[in-house]
């Protein structure tokens, strides 16, 4: 058996799906956040695979930017989560219900 583009894309799609459902299902904010990062990295994998197998660099270049963006998101996101934890002493989504009308 040979590992080709299809396999990479399958893995990337699988990772993306896992991340997506994780975001929908999980209760712990930090875990949700990890799932989001997982989705971004799934996209990176796809980009690299495509640009490796189809030739052309733009995919690989895009990955640089994606990683940077992901880092920025992590920084800001964790800051918000920490601030919220200090205020509410919890990061469980069901407990964060002040905004229901």
């Amino acid at each position: 058996m040979t590992v080709g583009l299809e396999q990479y894309i399958a893995v990337s799609a699988a990772l993306f799906a896992i991340g997506f459902f994780g975001v929908l299902r999980r209760k712990n904010t930090l875990v949700i956040y990890m799932c989001l990062e997982l989705m971004l990295n799934a996209c990176n994998l796809g980009l690299i695979a495509f640009s490796r197998y189809h030739g052309g660099m733009s995919g690989s270049v895009f990955v640089f930017f994606t990683i940077t963006v992901a880092a920025a998101e992590v920084a800001v996101g964790l800051a918000i989560i920490v601030a919220l934890f200090r205020k509410r002493q919890t990061v469980q989504v069901p407990d964060l219900n002040a905004l229901k009308n």
């Binding site: 058996m1 640089f64 880092a71 920025a72 920084a75 964790l78």
Partner: protein, 124 residues
């Protein structure tokens, strides 16, 4: 690629597992048994019951520093390709110095701001 390319990985996994298994079984086989009682099975055989969580919380400062580190660490990503093509660009008089200097300038301003705000001071 074919599966054969992955053989070294398999071998490594096998080696690691085997080594770990070997050491454990060795200690069971050749080690001398002491008397089994609860006290002896505690961590540190000093007779004092251990209390408190085994996992200790870190100060949030660690996280802040880690975030800042990531942010500035990522920028290296853009410097590596720059370094690789620098000579060719200069040789063909393509603009390359200006943009990267502007980029670094922004970074430096950020670092300056970060320092002045005391984000890196450990004791406050």
């Amino acid at each position: 690629m074919t599966v054969t390319d992955f053989v070294p990985v398999l071998i490594q996994i096998a080696l690691a597992a085997g080594l770990a298994g070997a050491i454990l079984t060795g200690s069971v086989l050749f080690g001398q048994r002491g008397s089994k009682n609860k006290i002896k099975n505690y961590a540190y055989e000093c007779g004092i019951k251990s209390d408190g969580k085994t996992s200790t919380r870190f100060s949030v400062k660690f996280y802040v520093t880690a975030m800042l580190f990531i942010l500035f660490d990522i920028e290296v990503l853009f410097l590596i390709p720059w370094v690789l093509v620098y000579r060719d660009f200069v040789a063909n008089s393509l603009p390359i110095l200006g943009p990267i200097l502007f980029f670094l300038g922004v970074l430096v301003v950020g670092l300056f701001y970060e320092l002045k705000k005391g984000a890196l001071e450990w004791e406050k």
